[in-house]
């Protein structure tokens, strides 16, 4: 079945094209087209995975363009990582397709929504099948397009417009890094193919300095896409999109593309210690940085957005610490529990028509399905034992302890504490406490609950692929058996457990039992509180530096253009005009003047001739 892997992305593409052409006629029935396409993709992706489980990598290439003697190709490559990602993406995408049928019901542009979902799914599936950097770049940008369209889905909202634009531009900044890095690698190795590049690293064609430069440039692309510090600011704003979109794109799949890219190029990164350190540092810093901001957000989706950034930081940290498996493992479990959390949040928003958590409360009874599912997600992300997040986070902490700098390990532990705190702050504020005027709030329809149930199961079960107790299936398969489980000090798991319970307890104290005043922090260190609420002023810093610099240069150039360039042109025209009027003044009807001019002209020609001998070219 692996030779059919290229068909997997085509189903959603077909759905995109069909819905674009006929969507308006089909209206609400469009959902079935989208769901069916996503389901077919999932089935085929599963078949590919099953095939790959027992086989080896399959690769196929087709000519895309020839440049002189070089042929650039596109193709598919079913490596273990790719096959795995294919299933994760197809699965989450399909669940979101199903969920959206309920969530988006009644929207005027219902079919457009499904069309865009199809486009995004196509791009994402194409990305994870890429055998070379060029194709990865192409789909990388298309994924950004899907994200852009879906963030701007409510086009009439100014915030959505700004958010869509920001998302595209911020990720483009990263993409340019990717672009440059890719080009540099091409001229060093004369190929975009991963295999050729890895070979070049192996046999030393690629100098260490160039490797470091190129992979760090490519990593900038990953920073942009995965919302890592300092290019993360678009991700919280991207929450302007419909919630299923946040679940699919800005939690489970697209933002993980950066992690995927680094993982796909892992042999290249491993060749450069500096690059690995960069990845680990950015990851660790992002993890703690975003978690602190998550503490004070009041928008339910933004809390989840910052938590996504923070979790992606974990994955980067894992990659930087050399644990490819831990990163992919956490990517997978995160995809499930974060998608679950977002879908549950969507269900909450659907019920109470607000996103502000301070206006919610006591929804536990009113949302009998959503609430427990949200709790599962929260427990999983907090790293409570027996849930999926516990295992994957434990894996990352182990990697950070054994390979990474100590500081990053402790940052990761602190981030874990904060994670469980803000997740349960969210949980208690929304579901516990006194019920507020949401008498009409009722739980979501079955089409929304069913996908959440599936994700709920996966949020627990997916952890058991890779545990210290039952064996590391995922790791052994991903690395073709080369995986060796790090003998982790037992205290790390204990520490992680303690930390996660501590966070939950603290949140319970403050928001559940209300034994501690909520303004405990803001009363003591108001400026820290303010700093967090303003997201460390990152947006303002950008506005005051980069944005104003560019606009200042642009303004300067406008004046240059209007006065200097135009002025020079006018000057040239003026000189010609002046010469013309001088000439026409010579045209005075006096034969003697003409005679004088003729003599002067003759003299000049004679001089030129005498000097050059007749040839001046």
């Amino acid at each position: 079945m692996m030779n059919l892997a290229w068909v997997v992305p085509l189903f959603p593409l077909g759905s995109f094209i069909l819905l674009l052409l006929f969507g308006r006629r089909w209206k609400q029935r469009s959902a079935y087209v989208g769901i069916a396409a996503a389901f077919l993709s999932l089935l085929l992706a599963l078949a590919v995975l099953v095939d790959r489980l027992g086989g080896s990598t399959y690769e196929a290439n087709w000519t895309w363009m020839t440049i002189g003697g070089v042929t650039l190709t596109v193709g598919i490559s079913a490596t273990a990582l790719n096959a795995w990602m294919l299933v994760v993406v197809a699965l989450v995408s399909w669940l979101v397709h199903v969920y959206s049928q309920g969530y988006m019901a009644g929207d005027e542009r219902f079919s457009t929504f499904y069309a865009y979902l199809g486009l995004f799914t196509f791009a994402m599936l194409g990305l994870v099948l890429s055998p070379n950097l060029l194709q990865a770049y192409i789909f990388w940008e298309l994924v950004g397009l899907g994200s852009f369209l879906l963030i701007g889905f409510y086009f009439y909202k100014e915030e959505a417009k700004a958010a869509a634009k920001k998302a595209f531009i911020m990720t483009r900044i990263g993409d340019v890094g990717f672009f440059i890095g890719m080009m540099l690698l091409f001229w060093q190795t004369h190929s975009f193919d991963y295999d050729d590049i890895f070979r070049a690293v192996g046999d030393g064609t690629l100098s260490p300095g160039m490797t470091t430069l190129a992979v760090i440039l490519i990593f900038i692309g990953a920073i942009g896409k995965s919302g890592q510090f300092p290019l993360h600011t678009w991700l919280p704003d991207a929450m302007e999109g419909p919630t299923p979109v946040s679940a699919l794109i800005h939690a489970a799949t697209m933002v993980a593309a950066g992690v995927y890219l680094v993982a796909a190029l892992f042999p290249l990164y491993e060749a450069s210690h500096a690059a690995m350190m960069t990845v680990a540092t950015i990851g660790g810093v992002t993890a703690i940085f975003a978690a602190t901001i998550g503490l004070v957000q009041t928008d339910i989706k933004r809390v989840l957005a910052y938590s996504t950034i923070s979790q992606l930081g974990y994955m980067m940290l894992a990659l930087g610490a050399g644990s490819y498996v831990a990163a992919i493992f956490h990517l997978t479990t995160h995809a499930f529990f974060k998608a679950l959390l977002f879908l549950a949040a969507g269900s909450v928003i659907h019920a109470v028509r607000t996103q502000n958590i301070e206006e919610m409360g006591g929804l536990w009874r009113r949302l009998p399905w959503t609430a427990p599912l949200f709790l599962i997600g929260a427990l999983s992300i907090s790293g409570v034992p027996l849930f999926a997040g516990f295992f994957s986070k434990d894996e990352i902490l182990t990697a950070a302890w054994t390979n990474g700098p100590r500081l990053l390990f402790w940052l990761a532990v602190a981030a874990a504490l904060l994670t469980s705190f803000y997740m349960f702050r969210l949980f208690f504020l929304v579901f516990a406490g006194k019920a507020r005027h949401h008498e009409d709030a009722h739980d979501a329809p079955a089409s929304m609950v069913a996908p959440m149930l599936v994700l709920g199961v996966l949020s627990i079960a997916s952890g058991y692929m890779q545990t210290p107790w039952f064996g590391s299936f995922l790791g052994e398969w991903l690395t073709d058996g080369a995986y060796r489980h790090e003998a982790a000090p037992g205290w790390i798991a204990v520490l992680a457990t303690i930390v996660s319970f501590a966070g939950i307890f603290l949140a319970w104290l403050m928001y559940g039992a209300q034994k501690m005043p909520r303004d405990w922090l803001s009363a003591r260190v108001p400026y820290v509180d303010e700093l967090l609420r303003r997201h460390y002023y990152i947006d303002d810093i950008y506005r005051l530096t980069v944005v104003s610099l560019v606009s200042w240069i642009s303004r300067l150039l406008t004046y240059v253009d209007r006065f200097l360039v135009e002025g020079l042109a006018r000057l040239a025209a003026g000189i010609v005009g002046a010469a013309a009027s001088a000439g026409s003044r010579g045209q005075n009807g006096q034969a003697q003047t003409y005679g004088a001019v003729t003599v002067a002209g003759l003299a000049i020609l004679v001089v030129i001739f005498a000097l050059t001998g007749g040839y001046w070219l």
């Binding site: 895309w64 440049i67 789909f139 397009l145 634009k165 483009r172 900044i173 001229w187 642009s554 209007r562």
Partner: protein, 525 residues
């Protein structure tokens, strides 16, 4: 075989027939004018398909005696012969197909032109003859003659059917391009005087074959060749346009009727790219090396300068005009790279930008017709009223910013790929243009299509540049109606072409491969 003559001059039939149509019969004029652009389209596509199947394009060469200066007493054994010669290769063919396609689409889009339709179509067809001729000429003199035909036709089209400041725009078009042409004429004259021929192939032979050196009427020194190439590049730099010769293009983009801009931005600017490749790289490959660095530098300047200025414009046509400057910079970048990827990239970028700017200006025409303005400050939230139009406009913006899967990416990618081989640091600076491109195109298009619908009478005059506020602020003529069937057809065709080139660039790369290879042999690389 008269295939090429037939291809080039077939719009003449339309001109003749149009003469007999009454001025007031606008439907007939529109129909006939559009129909007249179809024969060259069919012939061009036929040639394209045949060459794809292995037909040798040299078999289409034509030659007739035209002017023969052999019997003059001061010429002993040499002869000045100027022949009527047409001939194409893969490079010309790509541009001919582009011309034929865009001419038909521009004729279709001309339905929004209402005044003096007969004269308009007469000149539009003349313009098409000129453009087809430029790309089919196998002879410098005829290249120049056809080039001048386009100059006159464009001048009249801008000057008579343009916006408020049309005459000023037409004159600045004429001045800049006239200067470029004059310079070109000098180069042609010197070459003709020294070699006795204007035929490209013969010239190439004479300039490069040491054995043929003796046949030169007068010697051409290394220094002289460099001057000739410099003149040639300068002439085409004005026509491209390269910063700082770009001011005319802004006026023409803003003032000319949108269907004419489709051809202007779509084809006429590409003549310069074509000329640089054909004559610059083709005739003076060795000397070209010494100019490559300068070209690349100017390319990067063009890219950044155009993009940064486009950021601040609040008039859609001006945004697009500066984006044209920026995109032409990519062509220069490709040429400056002077390797296979670079040259191919320059051609691909030319074609891609031709298609994309044609699409943009088709939509600009519709927008101006519906809303009576293209001032971004007065527009907003159009997606609600005109979803189809907005979709196309967004597609155009995405193509402009070089989204992979659309044509723009292929051109930019290939050109930059070339420059990254020879001058990686410069290329990296130029790549910043990709970010700015995203900013300006999204800013302009999202402000028009997204957000709240703006009352166009609010008249937010923020743009202080005088030309901007003057931009065709008429009454809306059609009311706010979405793209209609007749307008949607050319838009759809253009999008289909843009996607086709973007998804499978081999379509265009295939006919180019042989030409690029020949040129690289000339470069000795």
């Amino acid at each position: 075989m008269m295939f090429l003559s037939l291809l080039v001059f077939s719009p003449l039939l339309g001109i003749v027939l149009l003469m007999f149509v009454r001025k007031t019969d606008e439907r007939m004029i529109q129909w006939l004018g559009t129909a007249a652009t179809v024969p060259p389209l069919i012939l061009a596509l036929f040639a394209f398909i045949q060459s794809g199947r292995g037909f040798r394009l040299e078999r289409l060469d034509e030659a007739r005696d035209w002017v023969r200066l052999t019997d003059l007493p001061f010429l002993t054994d040499a002869a000045y012969v100027i022949r009527y010669e047409l001939g194409i290769d893969g490079l010309s063919l790509v541009f001919i197909v582009l011309t034929a396609v865009l001419a038909t689409l521009a004729a279709l889009a001309s339905m929004l032109v209402k005044t003096e339709k007969k004269g308009y179509f007469l000149w539009l067809l003349a313009l098409e003859i000129g453009m087809l001729g430029v790309f089919s000429a196998a002879n410098f003199v005829w290249f120049f003659l056809f080039l001048e035909v386009t100059l006159v036709a464009m001048f009249l089209l801008v000057g008579k059917w343009g916006g408020f400041e049309r005459e000023r725009a037409a004159y600045s078009y004429l001045l800049y391009n006239g200067l470029g042409s004059a310079l070109l004429l000098v180069v042609i004259a010197v070459l003709l005087a020294r070699t006795g021929t204007a035929n490209f192939a013969l010239l190439h032979e004479m300039l490069h074959n040491p054995a043929a050196e003796g046949q030169l009427i007068a010697p051409l020194t290394e220094e002289g060749r460099r001057w000739l190439l410099g003149g040639l590049l300068l002439a085409f730099a004005v026509k491209l346009p390269a910063v700082p010769f770009h001011r005319w293009i802004i006026r023409v983009h803003v003032e000319a009727p949108p269907p004419v801009v489709m051809l202007h931005a779509g084809v006429l600017l590409k003549i310069a790219a074509y000329g640089m490749i054909r004559f610059g790289v083709g005739l003076f490959p060795d000397e070209f090396r010494s100019f490559a660095g300068v070209l690349a530098l100017f390319g990067v300047i063009n890219v950044l300068y155009g993009a940064l200025l486009a950021l601040r414009q609040r008039e859609l046509k001006r945004v697009l005009a500066y984006s044209s400057v920026s995109h032409m910079g990519v062509v220069l970048i490709g040429l400056g790279a002077l390797n296979e990827a670079g040259i191919q990239g320059a051609v691909l970028q030319s074609v891609a930008h031709g298609l994309i700017s044609a699409l943009s200006f088709l939509l600009v025409g519709v927008l101006a017709h519906r809303m009576g303005t293209t001032d971004i400050n007065r527009l907003g939230g159009l997606t609600k009223a005109m979803p189809l139009f907005s979709g196309y406009l967004l597609t155009a913006a995405l193509a402009l910013l070089g989204l992979p899967g659309l044509a723009g990416f292929v051109g930019e990618f290939t050109s930059f790929l070339g420059l990254f081989q020879t001058k990686p640091a410069l290329a990296a600076v130029g790549a910043l243009g990709l970010i700015f491109a995203a900013v300006y195109s999204l800013k302009a298009v999202l402000d028009i299509t997204f957000g709240r619908p703006r009352d166009r009478r609010e008249a937010v005059v923020s743009s202080r540049e005088p030309q901007a506020s003057a931009a065709s602020l008429g009454e809306p003529q059609g009311g706010v109606v979405d793209l209609q069937g007749k307008e949607a057809v050319p838009a759809f065709i253009l999008v289909a072409l843009i996607v086709a080139v973007g998804v499978y660039p081999q379509l265009l790369a295939a006919p180019l491969t042989a030409v690029v290879k020949t040129m690289m042999n000339g470069l000795g690389g």
